[in-house]
């Protein structure tokens, strides 16, 4: 019974969502041409878009954000937003899969507590497929690198997690470090290499980059000659490199490695190019309680926040912002493909890396 | 006041058999009286008591306290123990280890229906503790009492609430003779003064005789005889009772003739004996004659009346207040209890005098079947 209810509900509460909007609209009857409902808002392309949005958003006063970005960082970003527009951001933070889980479950029950969602690409893609996001026609989209913009526009990439290679400088010397994948097959790396336990998308990316046959063979050879040990969690992996426990890691996020390096840890990182990158992005809810604030925040994330993200060591997707961290050849993991081909890659990963027969 | 009718209680045991702990218990205790249950270990005294308290749900029967039906298997009535207003001393004391002496005693007053002020409670508690000679130990942890002190505490706890009905399961068994005697009289006085109807379980014959208005002798789950102390002692209805209440000598015999006025003449191994018999048996039937040791008078001179036998002192046992003699009469051994001043050494030839009134002729076998239970009329 619950399942059916879950499906039937959205319609009814969508209308209740509209009611809220109507209230807002009545209060904000300033510009007659400016739309007050979400469908209108996301499509509006007038020149006064920005001022009107700010005005309407200020009336709403609040914004509810579901995110998987580190709370500490998101707090900073939200503080910036609040400072600029005076809109209070309520943050709910969880792991990306939980963000997805929560939104879907709430939506099935007809509850729409989030206005904007900021999380990993694959989860955003899933939300899009669940028809829980709405594309926004923002003038700032053009500032972004082309890969950041999804074809359907349901969400937009705002920052990148770039997989790079890191090593412990007291255990390995810079001159010993291979710059090609094949270089890793040198037996002197036996027992030194580790990878994060769930980087299936990275794995798929590398294989695709090398060509399926070649790539698969490479990983098979690598496991056979030197072995790969698995560690759960990217940050743990990075920390373990710093502590010397893992002399060489294949998949760490470059910003984390950079932070530790700057803190003085005996660690260095580089990328065997092209580096594989995971996109994180932002999307606007289909039935937001605060539609104007939601659109405003979306704009903010792809525009004003970009430079700030770079400041706090993220890799932004804006062409306008320079970052030492994206100074390399990058390939994106396609969120859609990950969703569709997940089973295939997972099976391969299990077979080769986890050595399950 | 208390009526128990046809009470049965069976326990299933682990082997799936049933243990018949109480069978067909019927008794009546008038208001303000002290009724005693006496019987060998494991005969069902505690079980009966617990059934009256409501701690055990009987298999069948009926229990009425003060005119109120407490339990009836027919009418499906069962009143919860805490609504029965019955005080109880447990055989295992059941002292609460997390409270001190004072708190243990005060508990029934604190939780009772009557609301009492702190001062009143304190007064009553101190009085109860005084009665059981625990004054000065109020603040000792209950777990740090000696065995006897714990037992007295259990008693104080039952007394303090002045219940309508008081059940006492061997309340004095761990006390020394002096204290027991004192507490026994204290208890009796309190019971009489407060008019608390009481049921007293004891294994101590003299306690039962000294305290009770009435005694029920039990065996193997059944009541064998109910009567006043004197009735039970002097006119036991069966061999079991005669044997259980005090020691006795049994002499087997065959009825020769009925003398009348309740007396018979019986032919026994120690000679022809005139004995009292409640049942008037036909001549020729087998009887057992019970003669209590203290009713055998031992002397050098031949007594002039009553039954007389001749014998020899076999052994002497000094027991403080008296001396027990084993006497050989023909092939039979008889026991006699005499005053320590009687200094006849073992081997002495003596005469045994036995008052016919004190020689009780009994018909039954050792453990009488149920239908032979003798219930002397209740005297209130």
């Amino acid at each position: 019974a619950c399942g059916n209810g879950g499906n039937a509900e959205p319609a009814s509460s969508a209308s209740s969502g509209t009611e809220t909007k109507t209230d807002t609209a009545n209060g904000a009857a300033a510009g007659p041409a400016f739309p007050t409902d979400i469908d209108g808002l996301v499509a509006y392309e007038g020149d006064d878009r920005k001022e009107k949005l700010i005005e309407a958003a200020k009336k709403e006063g609040n914004l509810s954000l579901y995110t998987s970005m580190a709370l500490e960082d998101m707090e900073k970003v939200a503080a910036k937003f609040e400072e600029m527009y005076g809109i209070k951001v309520q943050i709910w933070r969880a792991g990306s899969e939980n963000v997805l889980q929560r939104i879907v479950t709430e939506a099935q029950a007809g509850r729409f507590d989030y206005d904007v969602v900021e999380t990993n690409g694959p989860e955003l893609e899933a939300l899009h497929r669940e028809q829980l996001l709405i594309p926004v026609k923002s003038p700032y989209l053009s500032d972004l690198i082309p890969e950041a913009i999804t074809p359907h526009g349901g969400w937009t990439a705002t920052r990148l997690n770039i997989f790079v290679q890191a090593y412990n400088t007291s255990k390995l010397k810079k001159e010993d470090i291979p710059t090609t994948w094949e270089g890793l097959l040198d037996p002197k790396f036996k027992g030194l290499i580790a990878v994060e336990a769930e980087d299936i998308d990275w794995f798929a990316g590398v294989i695709k980059e090398l060509g399926e046959e070649e790539g698969t063979k490479f990983f098979r050879d690598l496991v056979a000659t030197n072995g790969i040990s698995l560690r759960k969690g990217h940050t743990l992996l990075t920390e373990l490199v710093a502590s010397g426990e893992v002399p060489y890691a294949l998949t760490v996020y470059n910003y984390k490695a950079e932070q530790l390096k700057n803190d003085g840890a005996p660690l260095d990182w580089y990328a065997i190019e092209p580096a594989i990158a995971r996109a994180n992005g932002v999307g606007v809810a289909k039935n937001p309680k605060n539609p104007a604030a939601a659109v405003l925040f979306y704009d903010f994330m792809i525009n004003e926040a970009q430079a700030f993200l770079a400041e706090i060591d993220f890799v932004p997707t804006s062409n306008k912002v320079d970052s030492s961290l994206n100074d390399m050849d990058i390939r994106f993991v396609d969120a859609g493909i990950i969703l569709d081909e997940f089973d295939k890659w997972e099976a391969l990963w299990q077979e080769i890396i986890m050595e399950k027969k | 006041m208390l009526n128990v009718r046809a009470l049965y209680k069976e326990f299933p045991n682990d082997q799936g058999e049933t243990v018949k702990a109480a069978q067909d218990i019927t008794l009546e205790v008038p208001e303000g009286k002290l009724f005693t249950m006496l019987g060998p270990s494991g005969c069902g005294k505690t079980t009966t008591l617990r059934s009256i308290a409501g701690l055990e749900r009987p298999t069948s029967g009926e229990i009425t306290v003060d005119g109120k039906l407490m339990y009836s298997s027919e009418k499906k009535v069962f009143v919860q123990p805490n609504r029965r207003d019955i005080g109880m001393v447990f055989q295992s004391y059941a002292i609460w280890p997390h409270m001190d002496v004072f708190k243990n005693t005060a508990f029934p007053l604190e939780v009772g229906k009557k609301k009492l002020s702190k001062k009143q409670i304190e007064e009553k508690v101190l009085r109860a503790l005084h009665v059981v000679a625990l004054d000065g130990l109020e603040s000792r942890e209950a777990t740090k009492l000696s065995g006897g002190q714990q037992q007295r505490l259990a008693l104080a706890r039952a007394l303090v609430m002045e219940p309508k009905l008081l059940l006492l399961d061997e309340p004095l068994s761990n006390l020394d003779a002096k204290l027991r005697e004192r507490m026994r009289f204290e208890l009796k006085r309190l019971q009489r003064d407060l008019g608390i109807t009481s049921i007293y379980v004891t294994h101590d014959q003299s306690e039962a005789l000294a305290l009770s208005n009435q005694i029920a002798v039990m065996n193997a789950g059944r009541i064998i005889q109910i009567g006043t102390p004197r009735e039970i002692y002097e006119k036991p209805g069966s061999q079991f009772v005669a044997d259980f209440i005090g020691s006795t000598n049994f002499v087997e015999g065959v009825v020769e003739s009925v003398v009348g006025e309740g007396y018979i003449l019986a032919k026994t191994k120690i000679g022809l004996i005139k004995a009292y018999s409640a049942q008037e048996p036909v001549p020729g039937s087998k009887v057992v004659i019970s003669i209590r040791p203290e009713n055998i008078h031992v002397s050098h001179e031949r007594p002039t009346d009553g039954n007389v036998a001749e014998g020899q002192i076999d052994t002497r046992i000094f027991l403080g207040e008296y001396v027990d003699l084993q006497l050989k009469v023909g092939e039979s051994l008889l026991q006699a209890r005499t005053h320590p001043s009687l200094r006849y050494p073992a081997g002495t030839q003596v005469y045994l005098g036995m008052d016919p009134e004190k020689c009780i002729a009994l018909l039954d076998a050792k453990s009488p079947p149920a239908e032979k239970i003798v219930v002397s009329k209740a005297v209130s």
Binding site: A94, R231, G233, S243 | -
Partner: protein, 579 residues
């Protein structure tokens, strides 16, 4: 003379109040417990027969989940690994926890007075931290133990390898040993010493006494401890993930985890895996309730001559004192010091003079200023104390019904209340979330939903703690209160609860700690404003702020330690005192 005749008119007592307080309480409790236990179960079963549900695709009935879960040959391997791991863990922690509890409660081992609070430190340390601390202690590459021994003997032989099944069992077993310790402490505490003394007078050696008397009498507690720890370690995630993964040891929880993590979330598959847990637990609970209904066999707190007293070990007490000290140093103090050490660093490095120069208290001030930290702390305190108290009271009533009454079907109640033990936390979180979204009574998005989740999740543990204590109370202690005229409620409050104090408090402490640590359902159910401390811990961990997390862990340990000691002192006053 007043005479009533046998067959004369009889009256029953004055009519009872419409609802007897006792039956009211019992009824309400049964209702709450059944509600808490059955609802997620129904959800789990229903889900395990459904295909994944999305907005665009409705769930359908299927048996495929079971087919997938149980025909995959991989599953067998996972089960096998999990079984070995769980069996090893529960055996190890049981032995350790029981030994410590025995030494602490039943013997005159020196310095034991401080021990109760200290022994539960491993439980207080968040399991991620605990595991990582052990990586730093015993990993082949950087483990301090290995490095120290290698330097000492001048070899490069690897003495300890934490990345192995043995290592996993060691870490998990240590982490759970306080659970056994708490349970067994409670059991030993309400045991009449004269039962041991009489064995001693029978000529039995201490070994005999321990195995033939003490342990046998504590059997319900032992069994409960095994049951709890077995299920918990089958369910546990951190140790297999952090230690098993590098060694290629995969367990059953990773299958559940993977099923839920993918999109669309395959709760059905996870559910059908969880059914295995359900079966294992139900069997365990069934045997447990058989034990509980075996009546007075385990009543060791009597109303006659009961005198709490410890056994004199003679010279052996130096050995036991030695065990205490080793336990402290190796298992409590050293991991704690590792935490303290790393909390003073910017990133973890092996202790050295150079690293020593860089220590600072920055991490502590960072944690204290962490967004929503204070709110999380107060929410967590409120929730954990609230749910621990509620759980212990609820389950006290439940286990009274199960242990002390002869109501038919009472074992069902025991089983229902134990059911939530089998739910992986995340499944429970989802089911509670869905329930209160669909059935909107205003708890969604508030602290109350977390409260309900905690109640559900930890009820089984509370029940186990209470049951073992309840069984030890001789029935006459309760009966004498009834004979004193006390109502059931009064008896419960003034006699039963204080007498089962040791188990009650142990369970309370346990629930407080685990509910402060609870993450997997909290993360789904919390909302802005109802953050809890475990979210912060997880947050720090996800961000890789290991050193800051250590700082939080250190504060956490100290705070809980103080709480536990405070609780101890407080309850010392209301319970049975040892002489």
């Amino acid at each position: 003379m007043l005479k009533t005749t046998w067959f004369g008119p009889t009256t029953t007592l004055e009519p009872k109040p419409l609802i007897d307080f006792k039956w009211f309480i019992i009824g309400v409790t049964i209702f709450i417990v059944s509600y808490l236990g059955i609802v997620p179960l129904a959800f789990l079963i229903w889900q395990s027969f459904s295909t994944p549900q999305t907005m665009t695709q409705a769930a359908e009935f299927t048996a495929n989940n079971y087919v997938r879960a149980y025909t995959d040959p991989q599953t067998l391997v996972l089960f096998y690994n999990s079984f070995i791991f769980a069996a090893g863990t529960s055996a190890f922690s049981l032995v350790l926890g029981t030994l410590l509890a025995w030494m602490n409660e039943r013997t005159n081992t020196p310095f034991k007075s401080l021990f109760y609070a200290l022994a539960i430190i491993p439980l207080i340390i968040p399991s991620i931290l605990f595991t990582v601390a052990w990586i730093f202690l015993a990993s082949p590459e950087i483990g301090i133990f290995n490095l120290a021994l290698q330097r000492l003997f001048n070899t490069d032989y690897v003495f300890f390898n934490i990345y192995s099944l043995g290592g996993m069992i060691w870490v998990e077993g240590l982490h759970y040993s306080p659970m056994a310790f708490l349970l067994m402490t409670a059991a030993f505490r309400s045991m009449d010493p004269s039962l041991e003394e009489s064995a001693m007078m029978s000529g039995a050696s201490i070994r005999h006494i321990v195995f033939k008397i003490t342990m046998k009498l504590a059997w319900p507690a032992l069994f409960a401890a095994v049951l709890i720890m077995f299920v918990r370690s089958i369910e546990s995630f951190e140790v297999p993930a952090l230690l098993g993964m590098p060694a290629g040891i995969q367990v059953f929880t990773s299958a559940i985890y993977n099923a839920i993590k993918r999109y669309p979330s395959d709760i059905g598959l996870a559910g059908s895996y969880a059914v295995t847990l359900l079966i294992i637990t139900s069997i365990g609970v069934f045997f447990q309730s058989k034990i509980s209904s075996s009546g007075s066999k385990y009543s060791t707190m009597t109303g006659k001559g009961y005198r709490p007293r410890a056994m004199d070990l003679g010279k052996w007490r130096y050995l036991t004192a030695g065990i205490f000290i080793v336990y402290f140093l190796l298992i409590v103090i050293i991991p704690f010091l590792v935490l303290v050490w790393s909390s003073l660093q910017r990133f973890y490095s092996v202790p050295s003079v150079q690293a020593f120069k860089t220590i600072s208290f920055e991490n502590y001030s960072y944690v204290l200023q962490y967004p929503s930290f204070l709110r999380s702390v107060s929410n967590s305190v409120l929730l954990s104390i609230g749910s621990a108290t509620t759980i212990m009271l609820l389950t006290a009533v439940i286990c009274w019904i199960v242990v002390k009454t002869r109501i038919r079907g009472r074992w069902m109640l025991d089983n229902i209340a134990s059911l939530p033990m089998v739910f992986p936390g995340i499944v429970l979180g989802v089911s509670i979330m869905i329930l209160y979204l669909q059935f909107d009574i205003g708890v969604y998005g508030t602290l109350w939903i977390l409260f309900i989740a905690y109640l559900t999740r930890f009820m089984p543990y509370g029940l186990r703690y209470n049951t073992t204590s309840m069984m030890q109370i001789h029935k006459e202690l309760e009966e004498s209160a009834a004979m004193s005229g006390a109502t059931w409620g009064t008896t419960f409050r003034r006699i039963i609860l204080p007498l089962m104090k040791s188990g009650f408090v142990a369970g309370w402490i346990y629930v407080v700690i685990v509910s402060i640590r609870e993450l997997s359902s909290s993360i789904l159910l919390y909302s802005p404003g109802s953050e809890v401390i475990s979210i912060v811990i997880w947050e720090l961990w996800e961000n890789g702020q290991y050193t800051k997390l250590s700082a939080l862990g250190v504060m956490f340990i100290i705070a809980l330690f103080i709480l536990v000691i405070g609780m101890q002192l407080f309850t010392k006053r209301i319970g049975v005192k040892e002489s």
